[in-house]
């Protein structure tokens, strides 16, 4: 439930899915395939006790940057998008990994949070299909702006 209980995680994960829809094929499937693996790497760093400075700031920044990407309908090369999303995935994974060692069953816990994250991506991709219509595109860009504003609020709360 961890990814579903924090608005910072929810907004960033949904933004990844929406951005993928904006970027089109192959980004729409590369991002959801790559993200869980990079997130697992971030989780591994946390489990091994390797500190990552500014995890919460990184998560808040992910909502701001990904929200802005959607708001401006940015379409960078696929490798740039993968690097941006992958970098933020490490922060999200690190935050989830901190929770993992206290879980009674590691497989069930890890499976749960990977699955929850994936479902958030799918929700974003589903929302992204609205971009087929002009009004939908406008609405989705507004959602991206909202996510960026929410990210700034998360960042403000950390200060």
């Amino acid at each position: 439930m961890h990814p579903l209980l924090g608005w910072d995680h929810i907004s960033a994960m949904v933004a990844v899915g929406i951005w993928g829809a904006f970027l089109g094929v192959p980004a729409i499937w590369i991002l959801p395939v790559v993200f869980p693996m990079v997130m697992a790497f971030g989780g591994a760093l946390s489990i091994l006790g390797m500190p990552l400075p500014g995890v919460e700031v990184g998560i808040a920044m992910s909502a701001i940057v990904l929200g802005l990407m959607v708001a401006f309908a940015a379409q960078p090369p696929i490798w740039v998008a993968a690097v941006v999303v992958g970098a933020f995935a490490i922060f999200h994974g690190h935050a989830h990994g901190t929770e993992l060692p206290v879980a009674a069953d590691g497989v069930a816990f890890a499976g749960g949070f990977v699955f929850a994250t994936g479902l958030l991506h799918l929700s974003g991709i589903a929302l992204g299909f609205l971009t087929k219509w002009d009004m939908g595109k406008l609405a989705i860009r507004a959602v991206g702006g909202g996510i960026a504003v929410a990210g700034m609020a998360f960042l403000g709360n950390l200060a």
Binding site: I28, W29, P32, V33, V34, P36, M37, M39, A40, F41, G43, A44, I47, L48, G49, G97, L100, P101, D105, G106, V107, A108, A110, G111, V114, F115, G118
Partner: protein, 202 residues
């Protein structure tokens, strides 16, 4: 006295079978065995990953893998029903899950040798770790038959769905790859967790 004895005998004759060691009451030994792979997350995960891998490039890859998996599972579960054997390390099942999940995520065709190796290790490991504990000896065979059926049906159905999805031109093959990515990410995290725990213990 006689009446009390009669009542006791009547209660004993109408009493149902004992399910003291069964995870779900009232569904019988066979079906409890069948549910066994679903109640252990690590077992379910390896079955999912192998099913996805076998189905993704079927029928070429499934021709040998499915019967060999079944043979390895039945052989090891037969051994474990007769002999007391040390449990198979669950981490090896996680490594199989990780490799199979990565293959699926990258949509790589595993070679015949690698695929056969993975299904033999998984079948053997699952069989050795599916021994029912504290069950009367005359019911063990039925429980193990249920476990084999449950595991094989899972890998068969997941493989079938994976094969079917992989034939579509649009998003369904991507969904298979995403599921592969999820299983490998999950296995990787738990492996690291186990490593960290073993490091902390020593």
């Amino acid at each position: 006295m006689k009446r009390g004895l009669t009542t006791a005998v009547l209660f004993m004759t109408i009493a149902g079978p004992a399910f003291a060691h069964s995870p779900v009451k009232g569904i019988g030994i066979f079906y409890n065995g069948m549910l066994h792979p679903y109640l252990i997350p690590g077992h379910l995960l390896v079955l999912l990953a192998l099913g996805l891998m076998i189905g993704q490039h079927a029928p070429g890859t499934s021709r040998y893998s499915l019967p060999i998996f079944l043979m390895a599972f039945v052989a090891s579960i037969t051994v474990v029903s007769w002999l007391s054997i040390e449990p198979f390390p669950e981490n090896i099942l996680l490594i199989v899950t990780l490799v199979a999940g990565l293959m699926v995520a990258a949509s790589m065709v595993p070679g015949v040798v690698l695929q056969i190796l993975l299904v033999i290790v998984a079948g053997t490991g699952l069989g050795l770790n599916s021994s029912p504990e504290g069950m009367p000896s005359d019911q063990i065979g039925l429980a193990l038959a249920g476990t084999v059926s449950g595991a094989f049906l899972t890998i068969l159905y997941v493989g079938g769905l994976s094969a079917w999805f992989s034939r579509f031109p649009s998003w369904p093959p991507v969904a298979v790859r995403v599921l592969g990515s999820w299983t490998s990410a999950c296995a990787f995290l738990v492996l690291v967790l186990e490593y960290a725990k073993s490091g902390a213990a020593t």
